[in-house]
């Protein structure tokens, strides 16, 4: 049945391609119709907000009559959108705002095939990488990274086993030599932050330069480490892992990507459009308003960053798989 379906699908795709071929040769201008940006997470979240801000600026640079539509394809912690994009038509009219490092981790950690391969997507532009920091509650028992290293049982708050924050927490715990027990099941930053303040768990891995936590820094939250080469803008006295010798970078790699096999000329046009949009005054003003510290970059930088994560995950893969199944 599946074979038959694939064949029918392929047939239809070939027919569609054949029909559109003469047309696409005649119209050299790309884009000449609406571009859809897929967001793997629900409306109102960080990924959604950025995609909409980029779409708004991008509209300035596309031909008249072309719209940029943002669409949320949620489910399975982002996996649904990844699978959807992996199989989408590589014509450049469907792109997505991905959490690239999380996708890669999901793909590598999974025992069953996930239905996509992160490195094969057409990576178009980097939106930014929010470097994670480690936070404790200002009122909690632990005041510094040393306190955590000395503590017998340390709990880490995460959304779920195997998600991005879990991976960052696991790698940080290993690098710093901190005990690793999880309290899981919090839905996103909004639930994790009050849970930390309430004392549900001891440590929370979360970008320090992130609009959700900035207003709590110094009063309720105490960042104790920065998992990056550079210190955080909003907590300049917190030491980086490179200063203290752990040499661990971990961030949410936010990037725009398309289905595998977008023609190079179209990919280039999209990359230019996205970078122009992210250097536009409107977007910069939005970033400032939302206190987002995001450094954009070309598609090649995404591939580079992904290489770093692939090496990092590969080096720790067996241990991570074991920890994920420990329960």
């Amino acid at each position: 049945m599946r074979n038959l379906l694939t064949r029918i699908l392929l047939g239809a795709a070939v027919l569609g391609l054949a029909a559109s071929l003469p047309l696409s040769q005649a119209q050299a201008a790309f884009p000449d119709r609406n571009i859809t940006i897929i967001v793997p997470f629900s409306p109102g979240g960080g990924y959604d907000g950025i995609a909409r801000a980029v779409a708004r600026s991008m509209k300035k640079y596309v031909p008249k009559g072309v719209n940029i539509i943002v669409k949320n394809v949620t489910g399975a912690a982002g996996r649904r959108a990844s699978v959807f994009m992996y199989r989408a038509k590589p014509d450049g009219y469907t792109i997505a705002h991905f959490q690239a490092s999380g996708m890669l981790g999901d793909q590598m950690l999974s025992d069953t095939p996930v239905g996509f391969e992160t490195s094969k997507f057409t990576w178009l532009a980097r939106v930014g990488a929010d470097a994670f920091g480690l936070h404790v509650s200002a009122k909690g028992p632990h005041k510094s990274i040393e306190d955590l290293q000395k503590a017998k049982r340390v709990t880490w708050g995460v959304e779920g086993i195997g998600v991005g924050r879990w991976m960052g927490s696991f790698l940080a715990a290993k690098a710093y030599g901190i005990d690793f027990h999880v309290v899981a099941g919090y839905r996103g930053t909004g639930e994790s932050l009050p849970a930390l303040l309430r004392g549900d768990f001891d440590v929370w891995a979360q970008p320090i330069d992130h609009n959700s936590v900035i207003s709590y820094l110094g009063t309720d939250l105490r960042p104790v480490a920065q998992l990056d080469k550079k210190r955080a803008v909003n907590a300049p006295d917190v030491k980086t892992s490179y200063e203290t010798g752990q040499n661990l970078s971990f961030s949410d790699l936010r990037a725009f990507g398309g289905p595998p096999g977008i023609p190079a000329d179209r990919a280039q046009i999209l990359e230019d459009l996205l970078l122009k949009a992210m250097r536009d005054d409107l977007y910069i003003a939005w970033k400032k308003q939302a206190s987002a510290v995001l450094v954009e970059g070309p598609g090649s930088s995404v591939a580079q960053d992904l290489k770093y994560y692939e090496d990092l995950f590969r080096a720790n893969l067996e241990e991570m798989k074991k920890a994920a199944k420990a329960k």
């Binding site: 708004r56 489910g75 207003s215």
Partner: protein, 497 residues
């Protein structure tokens, strides 16, 4: 407090803002009436506000959100299809009342209780703002678990007719809720061979549309020619709606209790409007002098359902504003609108943007008022829908339901779930297995497990965590009290006779 209040009043007096609010209310009313479409519409509405003033944008959001549940009550009453999930309990009494020929009265009752529920909810919000940090910080996983246990115990009360069957459907609901990837265990469970589709569990929107809407369409066909019983043409005028509107004031206790349940369920993130709706309804059954009338078209049932689902917004706004924790999917979109307009949820929000808080409060109340008026006084026109022939209504309603089931996630398999749930809902209903307890079990089951496991992760496996925290002890005592209630009342009854 006074300065931002005056600022918000000033904004309200601007014609542009009033217009935006009215447009929001009208579109919220219409979107709310269409099953499964409100969230999509609200998101689109949010994107319209790019480049607007934050205040004007909030008027649109509040306008849409305030009117939605009111809009959802209309198809619930007239067609037995809840427009929004939190309107589900309105079907139980609203629809029988409409079938009796009192559609206008039912719509009027729903409109008035929606509006008053919203007013009570927003008043509570204003009173509670200073205390919210304490409330949210004292509700950790153990407290949450006890709260959910309390909720599950009310299932026993919600079981109408045969208690055994009610408990079996609650159990089935709990088991079905366990399907999918459990983030807390990191395991995909009970997936029936599906590695992707059932990852997030049984999708709520198509499941509910199937249980409540599609199953009911078959009953419509079985019953006969038109939606209204016996095919008689309903005669409802403005008078019927107006009478319903005023009748609410005979049931002040139900109104206040249901509003209170709505507010509490709204405050607690995740419990949301659907549960508030069912909890409120089952409580109303328990406290009513005429519990046997529930399900046959009693005014109390409509009030319990509609007051709670509008009051919940007052509660749900609190964690959204203070912690950035959306109490419901709609609130998540509102949160997105905050971020879009550079408003950062947190303790600072109340300190720096109190005017926005008032804009939202005014927006919700006025939108509810407008929507109630439109629904109640349009009732005469709306009620005519029930005199349409089944041959017209069933295909139209079925296509709308399927479209709504699909639109929520744009996944074609969701249509299959909706139709399968239709068969299930029909069979359960026909053989006396309560759909209410099924749904409560479904909503609470996985949550109970989550907070239970979280509690043990916090305590390193010690069960003492459930017995050593003040809030859990109070909730436990309340649960025990709930269990003893029938015994206590029967003693009282014996003593009095």
């Amino acid at each position: 407090m006074w300065e931002p209040l005056m600022q918000a009043m000033g904004m309200l007096s601007e014609p542009m803002n009033l217009l935006v609010l009215a447009v929001g209310a009208v579109s919220g009313l219409i979107l709310g009436a269409l099953p499964g479409l409100f969230l999509a519409g609200l998101t689109i509405g949010m994107t319209f506000t790019f480049g607007w003033d934050a205040e004007t944008a909030m008027f649109l959001m509040a306008g849409m959100m305030g009117a939605a549940t009111e809009g959802g009550s209309v198809p619930a009453i007239l067609l037995n299809i809840p427009g929004e999930a939190p309107n589900a309990a309105t079907c139980f009494d609203g629809h029988p009342m409409a079938r009796r020929g009192e559609a206008g009265r039912a719509v009027g009752l729903a409109a008035a209780s929606s509006f008053l529920g919203a007013v009570v909810g927003m008043c509570f919000l204003m009173i509670l703002i200073p205390f919210v940090k304490i409330i949210v910080l004292s509700f950790g996983p153990p407290e949450f678990f006890m709260l959910v246990v309390f909720g599950l115990l009310t299932v026993a009360y919600a079981a109408r007719g045969n208690m055994l069957k009610g408990l079996v459907s609650a159990g089935i609901g709990v088991l079905l809720s366990l399907i999918g990837f459990s983030p807390v265990h990191g395991v995909l469970r009970f997936n029936f061979g599906s590695d992707n589709y059932l990852w997030d569990g049984i999708p709520l929107v198509p499941f509910f549309i199937g249980l409540f809407a599609i199953a009911e369409l078959v009953n419509h066909v079985l019953r006969g020619d038109t939606i209204a019983e016996g095919g008689q043409r309903l005669k409802v005028g403005l008078f019927g709606a107006f009478r319903g509107f005023l009748e609410v004031f005979h049931y002040k206790t139900t109104l206040v209790r249901s509003s209170a349940i709505g507010i509490l369920a709204g405050i607690i993130p995740g419990i949301g409007g659907v549960l508030a709706n069912f909890l409120s309804y089952s409580m109303a059954v328990q406290f009513s002098k005429n519990p046997e009338k529930f399900g046959t078209g009693t005014a109390e049932g409509i009030i319990a359902s509609e007051a709670s689902n509008d009051a919940k917004d007052g509660g749900a706004l609190l964690p959204t504003i203070i912690f950035g924790i959306p109490g419901s999917a709609g609130m998540a979109v509102l949160l997105g609108a905050f971020i879009l307009h550079g408003l950062q949820p947190g303790f600072f929000f109340v300190r720096e943007h109190m005017d926005i808080v008032f804009v939202l409060i005014f927006g919700f109340v006025i939108s509810n008022f407008l929507a109630s008026l439109m629904a109640a006084f349009g009732a005469d026109i709306l009620a005519r829908v029930t005199t349409l022939r089944v041959g017209y209504v069933v295909p139209a309603a079925f296509l709308l339901s399927v479209g709504g089931a699909y639109a929520a996630r744009e996944n074609v398999w969701d249509i299959g779930i909706a139709i399968a749930a239709g068969v299930m809902g029909f069979a359960f209903n026909r053989f006396g297995f309560s759909l209410v307890t099924l749904v409560i079990g479904f909503l609470l089951g996985v949550r109970a497990e989550l907070s239970f496991v979280q509690s043990l992760q916090i305590s390193a496996g010690s069960y003492a965590i459930f017995f050593t925290r003040p809030v859990t002890i109070v909730l436990m005592l309340l649960s025990i009290l709930l269990l003893c209630l029938p015994w206590l009342t029967s003693r009282k009854a014996k003593a009095s006779s």
